[in-house]
Amino acid sequence: MSDTTGGLLTIAALIILLAAVHKPFGDYMAHVFTSAKHWRVEKRIYRVLGVNADSEQSARSYTVSVLGFSLISIVVLFLILVGQKALPFDRGLPGMPWDMSLNTAVSFVTNTNWQSYSGESTLGFAAQAGGLVIQNFLSAAVGIAVAIALVRGFVRSRSGELGNFWVDLVRGTIRILLPLSFVAAILLVSQGVIQNFGDHTVHALTGGTQVIPGGPVASQESIKELGTNGGGFFNGNSSHPFENGTPFSNLIELFLLLVIPVSLTRTLGTMVGSRKQGYAILGAMTFMFGAALAVVTWAEAGMHSQAAQLAGGSMEGKETQFGSWASSLFATATTGTSTGAINSAHDSLSPTGGGTVLVNMMLGEVAPGGVGAGIYGILVMAVVTVFIAGLMVGRTPEILGKKIGTKEMTYVALYTLSVPAIILVGIGLAIALHGTPGYMNNPGSHGFSEVVYAFTSAANNNGSAFAGITVTSHFFQISLAAAMLLGRFIPIALVLGLAGSLAKQGKVPVTAGTLPTHTPLFASLLVGVILLVTGLTFFPALALGPLAEALS
């Protein structure tokens, strides 16, 4: 069997797996967030929290809960990281410096998992399993909760309420993330992902010793992918044999990082009572994902960089067992979702391949996006699309029975502008500083790309990197933490504002003049709008970075 056949079959296997589960799983998620029944363990948790689980919240109140919970999460995680020496299984390691702790706490609470540290030499097992993993679950559950609140905004009519944040958060964690993570963790162990509590020193064949690192890796690895978090237990992330032992575990991890974002399109369709709407959104996502995958695979499987031409293959920064095809698939999936896990070194991808994964993030990570963040991101772009279409025919735009007026468009316009603004201001600041070239690992346009990638990844809450760049200076720790924080919570606040405003409206009846939003035509228009907005925003930065490198 050739590499090409194997690669295509791997993609086919992934598609079949996702196609098989997205309906039942998407409907299950819809049930989780619409059921009136509480599980017994959930009731017990609500009693501890002092929350009335049957009450609902306004948009303002829901937003305050999201922000209040996230702030306390950052504070607690910061304290755990700074003070890890006091925890068990600390491996004799000191606490993290304050700026690295701040960056890491923000990173994990915002579902970014940008890592300015390397796990195996910096963190004990308690800080990883008891600090970072908690946020791998909860930040993902926050993303799903916000997406569900937006969907409720479309569904509800003349209502001031979007649901109960604490109920959504607890249900998302206990009914969706925890059971799936558990099963996946055991499957990963079967493929050589470790789960133990001690490093092990061995005597190498050629003399000397080698430390075989240990840790509760499988339990972290499964939620790292499932929650589109991406923060590796080890510096090598999913390229490390103990995080991703075989091509089969690689397939499991790919499935995990795509399954919730893909299935949420079904959840959307089911909740709004138009399954076709879910398919239209999924169609747009699939098209963008497929296009990116085709370009990255073409760039990596062939000889499309100076290094590849010289070496006879694009293997720098790739594992032997994954090769070009499985590495390209992973790179596309991790940037199309907001995961940021890597099984190859993105910094060493060809200019076209690396440029494409960068663009994948710049699209706002909507193909298919992070858990929750993908679906609310693309719904916002769908609103932009009906607005533009409405302008063309001179009608008030509407979508899913809701009119898009000035108030809604204000939220949407601010959403569309906020993340690009954070990215471009961050890049500008970094480049203006004289010290920045000294932190780059590569000269010329590729070094510039490292800075562009860093801020794009942080503000979009991805977390992958052109990792050669040194980001441990105060400037990078703090500016990237700010980019992650603003890039997460400004869009969330705007989405919840939009949801509240939509929920207050009544439903407008569908007439002959209504633009249907569940058709292939609309899906194509949606893709066009996303590409247009991204292209206009980021073309200059791309021209100076990957484009210049590819053409030189």
Partner: protein
């Protein structure tokens, strides 16, 4: 209902959040990894503990983690170049992160090609890409079957074994695509060298 001030709402919600974090730390931070550990130890004990391999009474490595068999140790099959510490440092997994047009990387590749060409006595054009490039983890336990085949002649000579014996060892430690289609064919270098040491 009177509207509370933003800051008092915010603090109250943060306090609810703090209680939730305590509950979730017990559930997700303690119980969850402990149960995965328990099940892992019962079902796939060897995997969960890192697939440690021993020779005689000594633990000599992990099947999953590559070891530093460099171009200078000529009685062994060589592993790929590594950017993990000084090479295959188990506590410092890392890629080179050198860009595809970086002169430093291009120089490294050329230099490695020259070394391998001399050591194995083959032209540069015969050397596969994995032999001259560093992996993403820096701990890649595998090399391509092509690179292993290239080394058979030299290893056989240095060890005074026949080429067919060494070639058979390579075949025994070669893995095809998983389930017939997943991933690339590969040779586990540590396993191969352990088999070699037993000959």
């Amino acid at each position: 209902m009177p509207r509370n001030s933003f800051s008092s709402d915010f603090l109250r919600q943060s306090f609810v959040g703090l209680k939730l974090l305590v509950v979730m730390t017990v559930l997700l931070g303690v119980a969850y990894p402990a149960v995965v550990w328990g099940v892992g130890q019962v079902t796939w004990n060897g995997n969960a503990n890192g697939q440690i391999v021993s020779a005689g009474s000594k633990d000599v490595g992990s099947k999953s983690i590559g070891q530093n068999f460099t171009v200078k140790d000529n009685q062994w099959f060589h592993s790929r170049p590594s950017a993990a510490g000084d090479g295959y440092d188990g506590l410092a997994s890392a890629a080179s992160n050198l860009g595809p047009s970086n002169p430093v990387l291009l120089k490294l590749i050329t230099q490695r090609q020259k070394e391998i060409s001399t050591v194995e006595g083959v032209p540069v054009s015969a050397i596969p890409a994995d032999a001259v490039t560093a992996s993403a983890s820096g701990l890649d336990p595998y090399i391509s079957p092509d690179y292993a085949a290239l080394q058979v002649k030299r290893v056989a000579e240095k060890r005074g074994l026949s080429e067919s014996v060494v070639r058979k060892l390579v075949t025994d430690n070669t893995y095809g695509r998983q389930l017939g289609f997943l991933g690339e064919p590969k040779v586990n270098v540590l396993e191969l060298n352990l088999a070699l040491a037993r000959e």
